[in-house]
Subunit: 444 residues, 2 copies
């Protein structure tokens, strides 16, 4: 039973993010947010607010020392709001375009009408909130216990660090109150594993989590989206870790000095984190150039749709791969798990890929014009911003203001743009009253 229709979320999301960013900037400019006397400059406050709301984690100042406890709470609130808001909005958008994504029977009827009622919004928001609170609490308790027991931190300090990193991990925000991110815990599985799990769960996206929760023992009835996302995430995670091990095994600045078990842990963590979380337990600037190339790829793909992850999304990449496979096998339909992927989903996937690549290319060219930094580092930073990853080869803080603003724009477009775009594209679809005659131009 629908009470009244709500405003179209694809139009609300960009404005809501912008308003949150502006409020965050204002709060961070307050002297109370700054660890030292006086307020932070507007560019620092703005960049940090954008990075937090867009759950990116790129920083130009050290979160743990530059900002006061109040400032750190503001930052955590911003990435919690950003992550929660996007997860809720993207799920609602997905509901409107995707018939296979059923939350409740009640909602199914409305999918056809491409509209949502207030009741749907609140019920989705409530579910997302419950998942968020449960996941973050479990991880925070684990981290707090470990930090208190093994690192002799006083309980309040351990709890603050535990909560901050748990929230940051589940929202794939990548913010850390340590200047070296998680490098100090590089060989501590009791820290890295809970963080990894939070990243993975948050990054799969709400539709997948919902499917798993309702039908965990019944994989046959998972949606194609769930199957594609789980398969793709698994392959990227394992493949990324294996290739990183290969490239970095004997690099004295990264995995070289570690034991085999530590190498495995670090490579797995880096592979998980590269896909959008943005924590690092090894020095990104010291990686081989081949590993940077791998990071371009992992970061650009990102995580699952309608979650806290960025990038073009695993589902998008999987559809493109299936399309190529179908073409090579000479099948006229693109198929997955006994379903044929709709033409419009395929076309959306290509659109997301092409527009994403275009943003990265333009962003790189703009920043290259303003600095003398080698292009491979600029490309790294641009993809990291666009895919809201937050890993850095270490150049962000030293960039000129205009380049930092470009990165902020990339974070905003990357976070708000692809999903808004994909959804508004799908909703805008309409049939023409006539069709042109078909033609098959030459390709390749």
């Amino acid at each position: 039973m629908r009470i009244r229709e709500v405003q179209h979320p694809a139009r609300i999301v960009p404005a809501a993010f912008l308003i949150t960013i502006l409020i965050g900037t204002a709060l961070l400019m307050l002297p109370a947010a700054h660890a030292e006397a006086g307020g932070a400059p507007w560019i620092v406050a703005l960049f940090t607010a954008v990075s937090a709301v867009c759950v990116t984690g790129l920083v130009i100042v050290d979160t743990g020392t530059y900002w006061s406890p109040f400032g750190q709470v503001v930052i955590m609130a911003l990435f919690q709001i950003g992550g929660f808001g996007m997860m809720t909005a993207a799920t609602l958008l997905g509901l409107m375009v995707n018939r296979s994504l059923r939350l409740r029977t009640k909602l199914t009827a409305q999918v056809e009408t491409h509209s949502l009622g207030v009741g749907d919004v609140t019920s989705v928001a409530k579910l997302v909130l419950i998942v968020t609170i449960i996941a973050e609490s479990i991880v925070a308790v684990f981290l707090t216990t470990r930090l208190h027991a093994a690192y002799d931190l006083p309980l309040t300090e351990a709890a603050w660090s535990g909560v901050f990193h748990a929230v940051s991990a589940f929202n794939n925000a990548g913010f850390s109150i340590h200047e070296d991110s998680l490098v100090r815990y590089a060989s501590d599985a009791f820290i890295l594993v809970p963080v990894m799990l939070a990243i993975i769960v948050g990054g799969l996206g709400f539709p997948v989590l919902h499917d798993l929760r309702n039908r965990l023992r019944d994989p046959h009835h998972w949606s194609v989206h769930t199957k594609l996302t789980l398969l793709g995430s698994g392959v990227l995670l394992a493949g990324g870790a294996a290739i990183l091990l290969f490239f970095e095994w004997s690099n004295p600045l990264t995995l070289g000095p570690l034991t085999v078990a530590e190498k495995l842990l670090s490579a797995t963590f880096a592979s998980v984190s590269a896909r959008t979380a943005g924590f690092n337990a090894i020095d990104i600037g010291a990686l081989t150039h081949e590993s940077w190339g791998l990071h371009y790829f992992l970061m650009f793909i990102g995580g699952g749709s309608a979650g806290t992850a960025g990038g073009v999304k695993v589902g998008t990449a999987m559809i493109l791969i299936l399309l190529v496979v179908a073409e090579i096998r000479g099948r006229s339909d693109t198929e997955a798990f006994g379903r044929r992927i709709s033409i419009s989903a395929q076309r959306q996937a290509i659109t997301v890929l092409v527009l994403g690549s275009t943003m990265v290319v333009l962003g790189t060219l703009v920043i290259l014009r303003q600095t003398d930094i080698p292009s491979d580092q600029v490309i790294f930073e641009v993809i990291s911003a666009f895919a809201t990853v937050g890993l850095s080869t270490g150049i962000t803080a030293d960039l000129p203001e205009a380049a930092q603003l470009m990165l902020a724009l990339l974070m905003y477009v990357g976070r708000v743009g692809t999903i808004t775009l994909a959804a508004s594209l799908a909703l805008g679809e309409h049939r023409m009253p006539y069709r042109y005659p078909e033609e098959h131009p030459i390709v390749g």
Copy 2:
């Protein structure tokens, strides 16, 4: 009237190219081909033969001084055969998959059957040959006259240089008998303009040339392929030149010291040449990094289908752009010039793009593993090889053998692969007796 069916060209082409390469390698290893005593080492002969047959123009030795006149004739013969062979084969393949590509009424009926007769092969080959001879002769006469008159070269030397560069230009081979390519003629419009015209005509592809020749004054009846290729080529050429002017205007090592007219000439020539010809009149290694980025883009796209050009082709890129535009406008059909682009052409375009990008990424990673050369130079060389462009930032000669072999493989796959692939994909298309139910996964 069909006498008998010929073997499927998509299966002949890779083998024919391989055999030509092996014969070329053997000939270039003869002591008679080497300017100094003794035969050339196998790696030098192989790399040069691959580069010539695949009309790329990447070299590891200077063509004008390392090879004897006999060796230079062999090289010219190889790129003439390579260019002619590909133009003929690709046109025949296009005929089989493309109903809109009509050479003769006689052929039209056979298009439906996806097969060709011996008569078709000879008539296409004859037409391609006539176009080739006419175009090359005109340019050779122009160049010879200019070299004899303005540079005081003896007539035989001027004629040899004129013929060599005319054949090289029309076939988009990029080989030059000068170590500095065409840098010495950087401000001589009487050399650069004829060369540019030969490049453009050769690079448009035979189907476009045929359409223009038969229906020059009747653009309404040009095929969609012709319209897309002409529009795309025009935009890339003008846009590329404009952006290069912007990036290089005051670069003291490239356009900086030139007059405004010379700047315009050089930028236009570089834009034309980047798309696949591979001659350079300015020092590629001295370009700004932004210009390298532009070159990645121009080289990867390349020229027209079924011509001497490489890359993923202008038509492919145009289809992808049209697809994105249609998606953004919410149209369910991808349209161009009052026609709707077939779904299978769109899927082929994506496949060519994805496989091409994959080759470039893999090639770059393999070469990065073997050297300490900065990645932006490696990427440049890899795209240049894959798109059979032949421009170089200057690293090719100094690469280890394994990396040179990787470049040779990229040239071969880039030359033979995309077209074979596209054609064999289109021919392999078949409908399944049943279809799976449709599903629309979440994208982006």
